[in-house]
C-alpha cells in the first residue's frame, strides 16, 4: 500500500482538526487516508471538499473544519514555496564563515545563512527545527517562549551568537551589527511561527481547559465577562440531557397490544395467542415547580438554575417557576416570553434584593398555587434557608411534602454552614426528599440529570 508517504501530513492535519474541536475517530482517519488515495493531493478544492465530507459531520464542525483547513494549509504553503526555492541555496557560495558554524539547514551555519539573507533556507531550517522540537504538542499560551527558544537552539542560534562575538573581536563590527540585527529578526519570525502553530494546535485545548474550570467554579463568584460563555455551556449541557431523556420517553410513548410480536411469539401454537406481548407503557415527563430565592447571593445561582430548566423544555412536561424574597410571585410568564437574560433582570427588579422571608413566601405559595401541586409534581426549592429569624413555617413544608411527588432543596452554601446563624436548613430538611449543596454548574447538571432519570 502506498499510504506511508501520505500519512504523515494527514496525521498532522488530523491532530490539528481534533484540537480545533472536530471529533475525528480512528475509523474516520482511516477513511480520510483511503479517500486521499482515490483523490490524491493535486487539487486543493477537491482535497478540502473530500476531507470535509469524511471528517466534519455537523454544520458547526464544517465551519471549524474550513477554518482549520485554511490555517493549516497556509502554513503548509509557506513551507512548500520554500522547498521549491531551495535550489537557490546551491547558488550561494560560502563567504568566510564556512566550516565555523554547526546545525541549520543544508549543512551551512546559521550565521552564514543570515548574512546571505537566504530566506528560503532559513524558512526550511526553521520548519525542520520546529518539527524536531515537537511543536504540535504545544498547548498553552505560556509555552510560546519555551518553544521559540527550542526552535532557535535547534537552528544553531548559540553558534551564530558566538560567530557574532568572534566577528566583533576580529575587528569587523559593521558586519557583526548587521548579523545581530538579523538574529533579532529571526527571533521575531520564530515567535510568529510558534503563535501560528499555537493557533492551529492548541485553540481547542485552551477552550476546553477554560470550560472545565468554569464548570467547577462557584457560580456566585463568576466574573461578568464569563457570563456569556457560561450561557453557552449551560445550553450545551441542557441540550445533551434533553436529547438523552427526551428520546427514552418518546420510545415508550405507546400502550397497545403489540400484534406483530404477539403473533410471532405464538407461532408455536398455530397463531392462537396464548401469550400476549404489550408495547411499553408511556412514561410521564416530570412536572416541575421551581421556587427560587432571588435575594442576595442566591440570585446568581437562581439565574443558572432557571436557565438550565428552561433550556430543558422538551424533556419536561410542565414547568412553573416562582421567585421569592420577602414574598413570592409566579414568574413563568416572564420567563417564557422574554429571553432569559432580560427576564432575569425584570424579575430581580420586581422582587429581588430584599431580605428573604421564607415563612411568608411559603404561605404565599400555599395560598395561590397549592392546588396545582399533584402527586406527579416535583418541587425544587433553591435557597440558603436563611429567613432572617422569621417564622420558618415548617408546617407548610410538611403539607407540601404530602402532596408533591418529591421536594428537592438546593442550597448554595457549604454543608458546614447549614444550621449556623439564622439558617433554618435543618428545620426544613426532614420534609425534603433530597437536600444537596449546589453551587457549580457540575452540581446543577447532576441534580437535573437525577431529576430526569428518576422520571424515566
Amino acid at each position: 500500500m502506498n499510504t506511508a508517504p501520505a500519512s504523515e501530513p494527514l496525521r498532522q492535519f488530523l491532530q490539528a482538526a481534533r484540537s480545533a474541536g472536530i471529533r475525528v475517530s480512528a475509523a474516520e482517519g482511516i477513511d480520510a487516508a483511503r479517500a486521499l488515495q482515490v483523490i490524491g493531493y493535486g487539487d486543493r478544492t477537491v482535497l478540502k471538499d473530500t476531507l470535509s465530507l469524511v471528517l466534519a459531520k455537523t454544520p458547526d464542525e464544517k465551519h471549524l473544519f474550513d477554518e482549520c483547513f485554511d490555517l493549516y494549509f497556509r502554513r503548509d504553503e509557506l513551507a512548500r514555496s520554500d522547498e521549491t526555492n531551495s535550489d537557490i541555496e546551491a547558488r550561494v557560495t560560502s563567504n568566510g564563515f564556512g566550516g565555523e558554524g554547526l546545525g541549520g539547514g543544508g549543512g551551512r551555519s546559521l550565521a552564514q545563512m543570515l548574512m546571505d539573507d537566504d530566506r528560503a533556507s532559513l524558512a526550511t531550517a526553521m520548519e525542520d527545527a520546529a518539527r524536531d522540537s515537537g511543536i504540535q504538542n504545544i498547548r498553552f499560551f505560556t509555552q510560546r517562549n519555551l518553544y521559540a527558544r527550542r526552535i532557535l537552539d535547534r537552528m544553531g542560534l548559540r553558534q551564530a551568537e558566538r560567530d557574532m562575538e568572534t566577528l566583533r573581536k576580529d575587528g569587523d563590527p559593521a558586519t557583526a551589527d548587521q548579523l545581530e540585527n538579523r538574529i533579532e529578526a529571526l527571533r521575531d519570525q520564530a515567535r510568529d511561527m510558534v503563535e501560528r502553530n499555537l493557533l492551529l494546535f492548541a485553540r481547542g485545548e485552551t477552550e476546553k481547559f477554560r470550560e472545565e474550570l468554569l464548570k467547577s467554579a462557584r457560580l456566585t463568584n463568576l466574573e461578568r465577562r464569563d457570563l456569556e460563555r457560561m450561557r453557552v455551556l449551560v445550553r450545551a449541557m441542557a441540550k445533551r440531557l434533553a436529547a438523552r431523556y427526551a428520546k427514552t420517553r418518546r420510545r415508550r410513548l405507546r400502550g397497545h397490544l403489540d400484534v406483530r410480536r404477539t403473533l410471532r411469539k405464538n407461532m408455536g401454537w398455530g397463531g392462537i395467542p396464548f401469550v400476549t406481548v404489550w408495547k411499553q407503557k408511556r412514561i410521564e415527563k416530570p412536572r416541575v415547580m421551581v421556587l427560587c430565592d432571588v435575594s442576595g447571593s442566591v440570585a446568581a445561582m437562581a439565574q443558572f438554575l432557571l436557565m438550565f430548566l428552561y433550556a430543558l423544555n422538551e424533556a419536561l412536561k410542565d414547568i412553573r417557576s416562582f421567585a421569592f424574597a420577602g414574598s413570592l410571585i409566579e414568574v413563568s410568564d416572564i420567563l417564557e416570553s422574554e429571553p432569559i437574560e432580560i427576564a432575569i433582570a425584570k424579575i430581580m427588579q420586581a422582587i429581588g434584593f430584599g431580605s428573604s422571608n421564607y415563612g411568608n413566601s411559603l404561605a404565599d405559595f400555599e395560598d395561590g398555587w397549592e392546588r396545582y401541586v399533584t402527586s406527579k409534581t416535583t418541587i425544587i426549592i433553591l435557597g440558603d434557608a436563611r429567613g432572617n429569624r422569621t417564622d420558618p413555617r415548617t408546617d407548610i413544608m410538611q403539607r407540601l411534602s404530602h402532596r408533591a411527588k418529591r421536594i428537592i432543596w438546593l442550597n448554595p452554601e457549604f454543608r458546614a454552614a447549614w444550621g449556623t446563624g439564622d439558617s433554618d436548613m435543618f428545620r426544613y430538611a426532614p420534609y425534603c426528599d433530597v437536600v444537596t449543596v449546589c453551587n457549580t454548574l457540575r452540581h446543577l447538571e447532576r441534580v437535573v440529570a437525577d431529576l430526569l432519570k428518576d422520571a424515566a
Binding site: S25, D31, V38, V46, D49, L53, K57
Partner: protein, 325 residues
Amino acid sequence: MPDAGVAPAGTAACKFGSIDGVEQSLASVGYIPSRQIATAVYLAQHLEKPILVEGPAGVGKTELAKSVATCLELPLIRMQCYEGLDEAKALYEWKYGKQLLYTQILKDKIGDVLGSEETLPSALDKLHQFGDVFFSQQFLEPRPLLRALQQPGGAVLLIDEIDKSDQEFEAFLLEILSDYQVTIPEIGSIHAIRTPIVLLTSNSTRDLGDALKRRCLHLHIGFPDAKLEGRIIQSRVPGIETHLRRELVAFVQQLRSLDLKKVPSISETIDWARVLVLLHAATLDAELVQDTLNVLLKFEADIEVAKKQIVTLTQKARQEAGLPI
C-alpha cells in the same frame, strides 16, 4: 474490507470515472451539482460508503438520489422514515398467512408422510429429513432494505428523512451501512449481491447518533449561489428567457437574506420560474411579484415581511441582472 482502489466494473465506473464525469453525467439527467456534491458522489462510489445528506428542505436532497439512479440506470429503492418505523417495515417480514396455511397443510399431510413409521423416534428421524422450510426465504417478505441488497445489478437505496425515525432504528441501520449485510435470526446473514449506493437524507430535526455519522460521508447542501441557481433553473425550466432568469434568481437570492421563517429554496425557485413562464411574463415588476409571492413563501407572516420590500427588491434584482431600471 473491500479494496478501495478498484472501481466497480460496468457502466457505473465509466460514467463516474472522475469527478468531472460525475458532474457531467448528473447534469445530463437534469441535476446540476455543485463541485462538492459531485465529489461526494464520486467518493461514495469509490469508497463504497453511504452519503448522509443534510440541508434545508427543498435543496434537492432526494432529487440527488433519483438523479444518481437515473444516471447509473439502477433501480431506485426508496424508504421513507417516520416515527415508529421498525424492522418489519424496513427490512423483512414473515408471511404469516402463508405460514399458517403451511401448518394447516402440514397437519393434513402429516399422517400420509409419517403413517408408515412404527415408533416415535423413527417418525422424528423421518421428519428431520424434510428441510426446515418454515423460516426460510420462501416465507420471507423482503422490505426496502432487503430488496436493495437482493438486486442482482446493484441499486440506489434512498433512506429518506432518517431524522424522523427513532433512535433504535438508527442503530439497526448500522450493520447495513457498514457491511452491506443484514442478519435475520432464523436464517443468518444476507450479503449484498452488488454493493448498493446508499443515500440518507436528514432535515436535522434531531441530532443523529455519532455511530451513524461515523459510517457515512457527510454532505451538507446549502442554498446555491446565483450562478449555480441560474444553471439549475436553466436546466429545469428551459423555456424561460435569459434576462428573466437572471432577474428571478437575483430576486430570490435577496429574499433569502431577509429575516424569514422559511426562506425559499431551490424547489420554490423552480416552481416560481414555471409560474412566470406560464403567465408569459417578460420581466419582473412589483405587481406580478406581489401576485405570485405565495409560490415562493409559504407563511403568511413571511409574505407580509416581503411585501413591504417588493419594490426595492425588484429594482435591485433588475440592477444585478444588468437591466435598465
